[in-house]
Symmetry: C2
Subunit: 215 residues, 2 copies
């Protein structure tokens, strides 16, 4: 049976020892090391061997978020699970962006902690349902407030072309329209999105999730 090698980085001694003893009781888990700061952890060779890294967000010095990124660099296979008392957007999304694959609240129970690690190993992402909802909500497409502000098919196509760096001329050729025809639609896009440049249109298009990303 392959052992699950765990590293804990947490500045609170009590939490650290509590987690360590909880996890050590699982026969297929082994706590390789515990650290009270990212600095210490990054110097150690043990992080490179870890399967799972439990990482506190609110650390002194290098923050957990920055730490996750650095650990990911030296050990890309490590499954990094963040543990936080906060659940603000910056903590959550910053962590995810940095490469964490799970996000738990500090009040996690021993059983939940163990189960979370097992989920991570199985290829899942342990997080509380509430955090999952927050993450999912960030995908929702906000319809422009006014129905009339919905971009047409053609406008969306053009916006996509622009985001690929194409000029009006090039787009006009690809869409069998005149350059002024493209301009006509671009004006309309600008009006609907209330912007005045391609860059701003693309930016707004992304945040409104108008630009296609997967297909």
């Amino acid at each position: 049976m392959a052992m699950v090698k765990i590293v804990i980085i947490e500045d609170n001694v009590y939490a650290r020892t509590a987690w360590e003893s909880t996890l050590s009781q699982e026969e297929d888990f082994v706590v390789l090391a515990t650290f009270s700061s990212c600095e210490e952890a990054l110097e150690s060779e043990l992080v490179k061997k870890a399967t799972v890294v439990l990482l506190d967000i609110g650390l002194k010095g290098i923050s957990g978020i920055k730490g996750a990124e650095l650990i990911g660099n030296i050990n890309p296979k490590a499954l990094i699970i963040m543990i936080s008392i906060h659940d603000d957007d910056k903590s959550i999304f910053g962590s995810l962006q940095a490469g964490a694959i799970g996000f738990l609240h500090k009040s996690v129970s021993p059983d939940e902690l163990i189960e979370s690690i097992r989920i991570a190993i199985r290829g899942g992402s342990p997080m509380t349902p509430q955090i999952a909802r927050r993450v999912l909500r960030s995908f929702h497409r906000f319809k422009p407030m006014q129905e009339k502000d919905n971009l047409t098919e053609k406008e969306i196509t053009i916006l996509n072309h622009l985001s690929e760096g194409k000029s009006y001329k090039k787009i006009s050729e690809e869409m069998y329209l005149s350059v002024d025809g493209i301009k006509y639609h671009v004006r309309s896009i600008y009006e609907k999105l209330h912007v005045h440049s391609q860059a701003e249109a693309v930016s707004k298009g992304q945040s409104l999730r108008i630009l296609t990303k997967w297909e």
Copy 2:
């Protein structure tokens, strides 16, 4: 005890009736209606009263994804849980974008189905750990392959200004640099991101998650 009002939209009769009978056994659940297509469901008044909508993705006519969007429009409070045999990006992210708050595999067990609905009601997002991982992975910041291709602070600032539709002149004023100074940095941004226009730079900046979104 508040009843959880459920609507099921699924074209397979067996699945539909199986789910209905499973859910009906919970004393606080009531299946308001079942439909075999989005069209039927959308005509009914019952969807407007639903707390939870179980929605199959692979429907004939209006697809589940489009359906989720439409249902969300007429009943924004409905908790839409998609059920799919596929788990490709288009199905998952399309659904989430359309407003779904959960995503289950069709092979879901009766107990899991019930538990998923309870999670949804509690403000969570029911989904398999694997799908959660897929979703989280989409947040990861991909570092430009070359270390040297990382944008500097200043470049990131400028890219953000561009995404807000500012001209070089305006940016130069805000950053106390000459217009050519801004150009200098923009050139560098273009080189690093391998692009040739603001729109493309912003687009790439977004997908590389260089542009700040929450803070």
